[in-house]
């Protein structure tokens, strides 16, 4: 397990991915695969964050729309083109991303705490921030996000 509640991050290798203009990092030991979601079945009355279900080699995968979840603006044409496959408490999830980046190595001391004024939705899923010369990468707290109960759209 790469996540720690006190903000310290154990893993050193992260898969980077873009959602809108933001770069996120997913601890590599949690990423099962990265795939292009095809044949998505929307779930009626599901929360907007749930993009739908797909069949990935016989497994049912729940797709989470991070744009909707985190209120991220769409960058023209790229929205939710790929998904990062995650296993969480025996279920399979796909976190929709616009495109996948690369695997980066991060030393534990490179992480900084999330700024105090960060949008609470973001703060809740942010394990830490890493600064590079040109942009910031947010380490994604996968468990925290998936454990949170989503409000249902159903009346």
């Amino acid at each position: 397990m790469s996540t720690a509640r006190d903000g310290r991050i154990g893993a050193t290798e992260f898969v980077t991915a873009m959602v809108g203009r933001q770069m996120f990092g997913f601890a590599i030991d949690r990423v099962r695969d990265v795939f292009v979601p095809e044949g998505v079945t929307p779930v009626p009355l599901a929360p907007t964050e749930i993009a739908g279900l797909i069949n990935l080699r016989g497994r049912i995968v729940t797709l989470i729309d991070l744009h909707a979840r985190l209120g991220i603006e769409t960058v023209a044409g790229r929205r939710n083109a790929m998904a990062v496959g995650i296993d969480h408490r025996g279920e399979s999830f796909g976190l929709l991303i616009d495109h996948v980046g690369q695997v980066v190595k991060v030393e534990p001391n490179e992480w900084e705490r999330a700024p105090a004024n960060l949008d609470p939705r973001w703060a809740a899923i942010c394990l830490g921030v890493r600064r590079t010369s040109d942009r910031l990468m947010l380490a994604f707290d996968i468990d925290r996000m998936l454990d949170e109960r989503l409000p249902s759209r159903a009346a």
Partner: protein, 902 residues
């Protein structure tokens, strides 16, 4: 240590359940040494393992109980206080085991009270020491004992005191106990226990072997018929098998689309193997229902004491197997119902004597298979339901008006007990009468797609009948489309499908903003699925569409309602996958599944959909519930009832009908000496069952039968109903066009032979086939003792291009052989009176005349053993009796081109 502890907990829990059961029996038969020995052995094993694991509290308790039982076994008289005391001890042990399971350590506490009592009793019993050798003794290897003691001493953590146990027995005494406890070598022949228990103890023994239990480590490997497998492993296996099924479906789908035949044979085999695998994997999930009953004897015993009634619990069919998941879900409702029977159902002993009944009340629990379901009955011989009281209560709670109640039969009134908050118990006892009662039971049973019904005879008893599906993992479902998406609706809840259209006999009507359908003089509340789901464009109930739509009439519990969908595709066996946890509270879907084409679709939960309709949903007419109870699913057929001419009711199997249409009389044209109607761009001939046409009607219903591109219509006067029931043709007839007569929905009904009318509609119906399928038109002999199946399958086979000869028995078939008839294919039922299918196959294979003719077996059994037996007898293939498509496919596999290629 953790693994060991976990294993101990599982084993101890099982053993304790068995001990409970055995003790209750022992109480009744204090002289049955076999029962006592079994209990002794189980308690002893628990004690031994506790010592080994360092659980002093459990060990001490078990030890004290064992001491008392040792005395009994040695011949001390069983005092009335004895068994309840041991039961209390077992309860205490259970408490500790539960706590142990939670925290991993023994809870703190004192058991001196129980131990003192146990020992006092044991001491008291000592005076009558006789010790008659009841069971054959096999001396234990003394080394076992030594090893056991050593192990216990070594493994014991230092801080645990291993000093003299309270009520400690000398080593001699212990050794004697060991010697006299029947070892596993004594088991065959097994003591006269219920099969379930033998099996359980068998399991347990296997498990303790692997643990190296000192007492039983000398067991030979030969007896290891069972192994313990983690449920998780089985679940994984199940998922994998399900995936294989899906892949197979995908392949079949591709084959259907491309029509490639190179793979057909291999695929057929793959299909069979997959089906077998699936069945076997499902089998691993099966557990005897006795597992859910295990605690009942104890509960009933305790209740008997508490209520001061004499109650006898009879259990039948405890080895009936059903899915583990279903078993878990049925356990609580069952317990509740048995408690109810004991508390409400049975009268007090005094009342029973006054009523001239035996003093002891009986609760009879039985389980058996019926088609694809399990039926569990809970019957008591008590006073029966008090319809007057229920009626009064129903009226008081405003569940029905007096007028409605007047119109109800006592049977219908009795069903009120399944309503929420309904309890007629005059006083609240600790057992029942708290208002949470039968409605909870009903809800729980319906959650798993089951149904519960009650029949009661005043003064003679009440009989509850629960019908539940064998498994929840794979279910037949109807695939429908709505708002551009596909959904699955469990077939179990679908009552019928109604095609609706503006201006036709069945049209959706609107009352205020509510959509309803008039169906056989009843108003059916409707819900439009796409609007409910908020899919398919603007949504909203007001949206009208020009084309046909379908109302899926579904039943949930006692209520019927309709779901409007855009179209219905087909029925498919689907593998139910659970909803992702974050979507579970939607309430409208019970899961999802992957279709043959790989897409994911949601499974609609009719109960959830109905809940959105709110209150005021019409109760289902009781007719449906009555019907669903009759006969087994396997033999149930859906029949369309109709009237035509001046004759009585007529019926035709629904499966043969493609569509029901209402055709205006002026659309009927006369052409070439026969009536035709323009139908979907072609001319469809109309056939009248009875010559006279009822005058003065604007339109009349037509049953449409379609075979490939040709359709034929049978014009009738009125469509009465669709019923599902077992079809027993009671009177055979020689009248052309009639198969015979049967009792359907309580009336004598003529069954129509559709095959008779096909040539009437098209002189060339068969010729047309013949011409097109001239190469494959083959002579087929079909043997089945059931007239219904002969008549149902023969049009199908004829339509598929075979020249069908029918035989009603193996003997009849052999007579055909002796008369020199020759066939290209023989399809035979397996279960027939007289000579059965297997014997027939052997006979055919033993003689040169028909030896080369491929034989295909038809049966409703699908067990591997049966399939193996059919192959061995000489059948070339095996098809399920209800798998009509499979039969045609299989027959095609024996077509000449393939044979030549082979």
């Amino acid at each position: 240590m953790d693994d060991l502890l976990a294993e101990f907990l599982t084993e101890a829990t099982e053993s304790l359940d068995v001990i409970d059961l055995e003790l209750v029996k022992f109480e009744r038969e204090p002289n049955n040494a076999a029962i006592l020995s079994n209990i002794f052995r189980l308690v002893h094993t628990i004690k031994g393992t506790c010592g080994f694991l360092g659980l002093p509290r459990l060990e001490t308790l078990a030890h004290a109980a064992e001491t008392l039982m040792g005395k009994y076994r040695d011949g001390a008289a069983v005092t009335p206080a004895g068994v309840p005391l041991i039961l209390r001890t077992i309860d205490r042990i259970k408490e500790i085991v539960v706590a142990l399971g939670v925290s991993g350590v023994e809870p703190a506490g004192q058991d001196d009270d129980l131990i003192a009592l146990l020992l006092a009793l044991a001491e008291g019993g000592k005076t009558i020491e006789i010790a008659p050798p009841v069971v054959a003794h096999v001396p234990r290897d003394p080394e076992d004992l030594v090893f056991h003691e050593d192990a216990a001493a070594e493994e014991m953590p230092c801080d645990v005191e291993f000093g003299p146990l309270p009520g400690c027995v000398s080593l001699d005494e212990l050794e004697r106990a060991f010697r006299e406890a029947p070892g596993p070598d004594d088991i065959p022949p097994p003591p006269p226990l219920e099969p379930l228990i033998e099996r359980r103890s068998g399991d347990r023994r296997a498990a303790s072997d692997s643990q190296g239990d000192a007492v039983e480590s000398k067991d030979g490997g030969a007896r290891n018929q069972t192994i313990r497998v983690a449920v998780e492993t089985l679940e994984k296996l199940m998922t994998t098998a399900s995936e294989l099924v899906l892949t197979r479906n995908q392949l079949l789908d591709i084959l259907r689309r491309t029509g490639q035949s190179d793979f057909k044979t291999a695929l057929q085999r793959l299909s069979n193997v997959t089906a077998e695998l699936q069945e076997n994997v499902l089998q691993t999930r099966m557990q005897p229902i006795g597992g859910a009953w295990q605690k009942l004897p104890r509960i009933v015993r305790d209740l008997g004491c508490e209520l001061d009634k004499k109650i006898e619990l009879e259990m039948h069919g405890g080895d009936t197997e059903l899915d583990r998941q279903v078993l878990e879900l049925i356990r609580d409702p069952l317990t509740h119902m048995v408690r109810n029977s004991a508390d409400h159902g049975l009268e007090s002993t005094a009342d029973r004597i006054r009523a001239g009944k035996p003093e002891t009340g009986t609760i009879k629990l039985s389980a058996y298979h019926e088609g694809g379901s399990i039926v569990i009955e809970i019957a008591d011989d008590g006073k029966g339901l008090d319809a007057t009281k229920i009626r009064a209560k129903a009226a008081a709670q405003g569940l029905a008006t007096e007028g409605e109640l007047d119109a109800m039969t006592p049977g219908e009134i009795n069903k009120f007990i399944f309503r929420a908050g309904f309890s007629t118990a005059a006083s609240v006892t600790s057992v029942s009468g708290r208002g949470v009662g039968m409605d909870v039971v009903r809800t729980n049973i319906e959650l798993i797609g089951g149904a519960v019904d009650v029949k009661s005879t005043p003064g003679a008893g009440t009989n509850f009948r629960i019908k539940i599906p064998l498994t929840l993992a794979i279910i037949p479902a109807l695939i429908v489309s709505s708002g551009g998406q596909r959904f699955a609706i469990p077939q179990l809840s679908v009552v019928e499908l109604v095609r609706v259209r503006e201006g036709s006999a069945y049209a959706i009507e609107t009352i205020h903003d509510t959509q309803v359908l008039r169906l056989r003089r009843r108003l059916l509340p409707l819900v439009q699925l796409d609007a409910l789901f908020g899919i398919g464009g603007e949504g909203g109930g007001a949206r009208e569409r020009a084309g046909d739509r379908v109302v899926v009439v579904a039943q949930s519990g006692h209520q019927t309602f309709g779901m409007i969908v855009d179209g219905v595709f087909h029925t498919e066996e689907i593998v139910v996958k659970p909803m992702p946890s974050m979507l579970r509270e939607l309430g409208l879907f019970s899961g999802n599944t992957i279709l043959g084409d790989g897409s994911v679709i949601m499974i609609v939960d009719p109960t959830g959909v109905m809940a959105t309709l709110g209150q005021g949903v019409a109760d289902a007419t009781p007719e449906k519930q009555e019907e669903t109870d009759k006969g087994s699913v396997e033999e149930i057929s859906s029949l369309l009832l109709f009237r035509s001419g001046n004759g009585g009711a007529k019926a035709v199997p629904l499966s043969l009908i493609t569509r029901l249409e209402d055709i205006e009389i002026d659309r009927i044209e006369r052409c070439n000496g026969r009536d035709v109607v323009q139908y979907r761009g072609t001319l469809m001939p109309l056939i009248y069952l009875d010559e006279e046409v009822e005058p003065g009607r604007k339109s009349r219903p037509v049953l449409v039968f379609t075979d490939e591109e040709r359709s034929m219509g049978i014009a009738v006067d009125e469509i009465v109903d669709i019923v599902e029931q077992r079809l027993d043709i009671e009177i055979m007839t020689d009248r052309p066009g009639r198969l015979g007569s049967a009792i359907i929905a309580g009336r004598a009904t003529e069954i129509i032979d559709v095959a008779h009318y096909l040539p009437q509609a098209f002189d060339d119906w068969l010729a047309h086939k013949e011409q097109r399928l001239i190469e494959s038109r083959r002579r087929l002999l079909f043997i089945d003792d059931s007239a219904f199946f002969r008549n149902m399958l023969s049009p199908l086979l004829t339509a598929a291009g075979y020249a069908v000869t029918l035989a009603a028995s193996a003997e009849e078939a052999l007579e055909l052989r002796s008369r020199g008839a020759a066939f290209d294919l023989i399809v035979s039922d397996l279960e027939m009176p007289g000579m059965d299918g297997i014997a027939l196959a052997r006979t055919i294979r033993s003689d040169a005349t028909w030896r080369e003719t491929p034989l295909i077996a038809l049966s409703s059994h699908r067990s591997q053993a049966v399939i193996a037996r059919t192959r061995e007898a000489g059948f070339a293939d095996y098809v399920g009796k209800f798998d009509r498509e499979g039969l045609i496919e299989t027959l095609k596999g024996f077509s000449p081109c393939l044979e030549e290629a082979a």
